[in-house]
Amino acid sequence: MKWIATVDGVERPLDPQAVLDGASVVEVEPGVYSVLTANGASIEMRVNPAPGMAGAWNVGVNGRTHAVTLRDPRERAARGAGAGAAGRQNINAPMPGKVVRVLVQAGDAVEAGQGLVVVEAMKMQNEMKSPKAGTVAEVRVDAGATVAVGETLLIIE
């Protein structure tokens, strides 16, 4: 069967069975695959689910990690880039951490580049800035909250 694979952002059609034909693939440790290709190369691949994304995998090869997504071409092609409503933009946590300061309130007008919220993890503070001028539509977190990576902190419109 054909799939659409994206590897480090580059999309390609993929017939995994054809690619693996003639190869020997063994899961030697959980998620760790020893691959002997048809031409004799020994390659170790470490597959882990990408946090919080179904159908997305991080594949480690020779010390480097490649982001892989797999999509059945029969599925609807586009999943919608934003949250639907044009102009609304989610500000998501770039890392797991704790919200140390919320710098704006719902209804505030903000400029592009203005600080919105500060998230801290591992002694490092990261100030989320507004990607555009607009209005704060919604603030979803309070100072002191613990957030997961990708969690929406607030919405600008």
Binding site: A5, D8, V25, V35, V59, G63, H66, L70, A121, M122
Partner: protein, 499 residues
């Protein structure tokens, strides 16, 4: 020697100290915050005491709780590691008052070197070269402007109580000065509860070279040569090496720097292990920067090259033993390099990446030293710094130490969180790095010139196909529609059934 030693730290350095204690037959006591119950240092210690919430100020930085844990367990000495209470003179004094040996320098030596401005005065008085600038905290922006005009731009603002790059600002022109001073000062206040900032001439493209010193309580002090730690990011060291490519290229430089470091440390009445940091330029000129009055994160590279064990010596010196090594006995053999493996995402501006380690493979074999604080299945907490492990290599030459590191990194895999392993792999292959053309802005320039190409066609295809196979195997078995039975599928499936 000691009856029992409490290790007032966590992570890899607590493990490092516990190992040394075990090797000397001394029982160890770990302390842990609520989120560290399952940490490796707790598993490895002989005893362990919970000391409260994740927040450092209520646990690892709380000297009362630490001293209480020591007295409850009958520990007669405390090793502070680095960070946390290691450079806290009040804590060292409180230990002394409680009759507990602080494994480090005296409280007065910590105090003398604790303020960068005071340390600068001591260094100047001892005859060590210092960067032109103030030894006193700046009164205000006006004073800063006057001094900067005298020593000339660019200038560097630094927190007097600082460390780790917090409260530092590089200022290129007078226009930026007032704002930078305000930022540095408030960052210093937040980080160290001390807003004092001083000013120095900025050395452009400086190299960070530091001297390891070691002295006993009987007045004998030696240096163990230099480490070069120029490869930094946001003023945090990332790669360290011993010896320094710069110092080895300039005859007599190690001896001059070593002598200066010993002078400064002696002037402060220092004993135990300490590090005197210098800025250096490519001509071999060097300037006293500050003294770290504790064991350094990067001490392994010195240990690998000098064959001396600094933590063992810390214990012996703290117990009152004489340092039996003379300066002329110290030999530097080969080359060592250390990479700090961090839980961070190099592809997203090095943001922290705490979380559960799903799979872990660690390197071994000849010339490898690993100081790790993690294990498979452990959840790296978001509450502390992102250092997971230190990977050091030793080899006869710098080139081979680098190639050995590349080999070791390829054996290393930490899945479930992001790490800087691939970043190191790219950096170690960088031509200027291999040439030893280092300076503290190295990484910024490297990131500009580095272009990590995507995977080649075959690798990309194979990675996607294996991810597909993996996704199949993790679901209720769903056979591919192909009627052909290929070898890989059988083997893969046989294996999965077995485990």
């Amino acid at each position: 020697m000691f009856r029992k030693v409490l290790v007032a730290n966590r992570g890899e350095i607590a493990v490092r100290v516990i190992r040394a204690l075990r090797e000397r037959g001394i029982p160890s006591v770990a302390v842990f915050s609520d989120v560290d119950r399952n940490s490796l240092h707790v598993r490895m210690a002989d005893e362990a005491v919970g000391i409260g919430p994740a927040l450092s100020s209520e646990s690892y930085l709380n000297s009362g709780k630490i001293l209480d844990a020591a007295s409850r367990t009958g520990a007669d000495a405390i090793h502070p590691g680095y960070g946390f209470l290691s450079e806290n003179a009040e804590f060292a004094q409180a230990c002394a008052d409680a009759g507990i040996t602080f494994i480090g320098p005296s409280a007065s030596a910590i105090r003398a070197m604790g303020s960068k401005t005071a340390a600068r005065k001591i260094a100047e008085a001892a005859g060590a070269p210092v960067v032109p600038g103030t030894s006193e905290a700046l009164r205000d922006a006006e004073q800063a402007r006057q001094i900067a005009a005298t020593i000339g731009y660019p200038v560097m603002l630094k927190a007097a109580a600082g460390g780790g790059g917090k409260g530092m600002r590089l200022v290129h022109s007078e226009a930026e000065l007032a704002g930078a001073l305000r930022d540095a000062s408030s960052e210093a206040e937040r980080s160290f509860k001390n807003s004092e900032v001083y000013i120095e001439k900025a050395i452009l493209r400086p190299r960070h070279v530091e001297i390891q010193v070691l002295g006993d309580q009987h007045g004998h002090m030696i240096h163990l040569g230099e480490r070069e730690c120029s490869v930094q990011r946001r003023h945090q060291k990332v790669i360290e090496e011993c010896p320094s490519p710069l110092v080895t290229s300039i005859p007599g430089m190690r001896e001059r720097m070593g002598a200066a470091a010993v002078l400064v440390a002696k002037a402060a009445g220092y004993y135990n292990a300490g590090t005197v940091e210098f800025l250096a330029d490519d001509s071999g000129a060097f300037y006293f920067l500050e003294m770290n009055t504790r064991l350094q994160v990067e001490h392994p590279v010195t240990e690998l090259v000098t064959s001396m064990d600094l933590v063992h010596w810390q214990l012996r010196i703290a117990a009152g033993e004489r340092l039996t090594v003379r300066q002329e006995d110290v030999k530097w053999n080969g080359w060592s390099m250390e990479c700090r493996l961090y839980a961070e995402d190099p592809d997203a501006n090095f943001l922290p990446s705490p979380g559960r380690i799903q799979q872990l493979s660690l390197p071994s074999g000849p010339g490898i030293r690993l100081d790790s604080g993690v294990y498979p299945g452990w959840t790296v907490p978001m509450d502390y710094d992102p250092l997971l492990a230190k990977l050091a290599t030793w080899a006869e030459t710098r080139e081979l130490a680098i190639d050995r590191m590349i080999r070791a990194l390829a054996e290393t895999s930490i899945a479930g969180i992001k790490t800087n392993i691939a970043f190191f792999d790219a950096l170690l292959r960088d031509h200027p790095f291999r040439e030893g053309a280092l300076h503290t802005g190295f990484i910024v320039e490297f990131l500009e010139r580095a272009n990590t190409p995507g995977p080649d066609e075959d690798t990309a295809e194979l990675a996607a196909a294996v991810a597909w196979l993996h996704s199949r195997s993790k679901q209720p078995v769903e056979l591919p529609s192909s009627t052909q039975k290929s070898k890989w599928l059988e083997q893969g499936r046989a294996r999965l059934h077995r485990s």
